[in-house]
């Protein structure tokens, strides 16, 4: 395994620290931001790997943001990296919530805080939409019909029927296996001829 420099550790830690400190709204908000940082800006992770990591983070117990941070840290620097990213993810909310829980009443009723929050919410929604467009492009570029159908089906199931996310993951995983078997079977038959 390649040696990981101290500068890489520092960059890894501060990247997740900053994301965690600025991310309102939990798991599905921080994951697109991690993708922006680690796939686009730093180029440490492949697009496909990031999606795989999101799927693993989503289907494992615990907070999605923490799980995704563990996977990113592990990818970059194995177990020390994972421990570092967990710390980076947990410390900002730990500090912020400790302080806020002392001044909770004043914080909740502060009009400035509320206006800034309302503005940030618009920004976060824009960031997520931006990332979704980029990710959908990578699916469309493959010019295969099945992934597009899975995307639309999963979207409809989540959005309009509030189907349990674990059930969707299970079904989509099975569809993936069946598709692979089918493709390998046709490949074998083609080779047999």
């Amino acid at each position: 395994m390649k040696r990981v420099s101290r500068a890489t550790y520092a960059k890894l830690f501060w990247s997740v620290f900053k994301l965690s400190a600025c991310t309102f709204g939990g798991g599905f908000v921080i994951v697109p931001l991690m993708r922006k940082r680690f796939v686009e800006e730093l180029g440490w992770i492949e697009e496909q790997e990031m999606l795989d990591m999101t799927a693993i983070a989503q289907s494992s117990p615990g907070a999605i943001a923490v799980n995704a941070a563990i996977l990113v840290g592990y990818h970059v620097a194995r177990i020390p990296g994972a421990l570092l990213t967990v710390l980076g993810t947990v410390i900002p909310p730990l500090i912020i919530v400790s302080v806020i829980s002392m001044f909770y009443q004043a914080f909740r009723d502060n009009p400035v805080v509320n206006l800034v929050m309302a503005g940030m919410l618009c920004g976060v929604a824009a960031v997520i939409l931006d990332v979704v467009i980029d990710m959908t492009k990578t699916i469309l570029e493959k010019k295969k019909i099945l992934p597009v159908l899975v995307l639309m089906g999963a979207f409809i199931a989540v959005r309009f029927f509030s189907v349990n996310i674990l059930l969707i993951i299970l079904v989509c995983g099975i569809i993936g296996i069946l598709e692979t078997w089918q493709r390998e079977k046709t490949n074998r038959e083609a080779m047999g001829k």
């Binding site: 965690s20 999606l51 009009p111 920004g123 939409l129 692979t180």
Partner: protein
């Protein structure tokens, strides 16, 4: 021993909350309101508000809040640790397995099936946030034209800046916060 109890309660929350975010809420409520006399249900409702208003995962935020209330800063640290230890063990194992076996065609198949589904879920979460941003917390009203035009303006501005100039998202969010403060207080 209060620290052990806090650790153990949050260990269970961390272990059994699959699907993240609001899926964890009933579990947290059961542990800290029903099984232990740590919070009243009013305080619990406050946690939900705090979790919405502050960065970070809701389980971690509630661990910090409850820990601080019950046993000060050490309590916050112990509860947070309890919450992340199950994730660390399970996800690191999965990460190891992923890098070890992802070449297998069956794993390739599973992952290929999951990728579009993940995009769909992120899209849905994004739409929820967008609707909350332009219509407020109560959701979409019967009259769909009663949205907040300023919120929509900030959203479109942020979106344009992101697509066209690929600006760092954290700067975009900070900018949107500043724009929110200026526009919402002026108009």
């Amino acid at each position: 021993m209060i620290y052990l109890e806090l650790f153990w309660s949050y260990f269970q929350i961390g272990l059994f909350s699959i699907g993240g975010g609001y899926a964890a809420m009933p579990l947290i409520e059961q542990q800290v309101v029903e099984l232990h006399p740590w919070l009243t249900s009013v305080q619990f409702a406050d946690i939900v508000t705090i979790a919405e208003m502050t960065p970070g995962p809701i389980a971690i935020n509630s661990a910090t809040f409850v820990g601080t209330m019950v046993a000060g800063v050490p309590g916050a640290i112990v509860a947070t640790l309890g919450c992340i230890v199950p994730s660390c063990m399970i996800v690191m194992t999965l990460a190891y397995l992923y890098y070890r076996f992802r070449g297998l065609s069956i794993i390739q198949g599973v992952l290929a099936g999951l990728r579009p589904a993940v995009i769909a879920m992120i899209a849905s979460a994004g739409i929820n946030l967008f609707l909350t941003a332009v219509y407020g917390k109560s959701g979409v009203p019967d009259d769909i034209w009663s949205f907040q035009p300023l919120a929509l303006l900030i959203f479109l501005g942020a979106f344009l800046v992101l697509r066209r100039w690929k600006v760092n998202p954290i700067k975009v969010m900070a900018g949107a916060g500043a724009a929110g403060f200026i526009l919402f207080s002026l108009f």
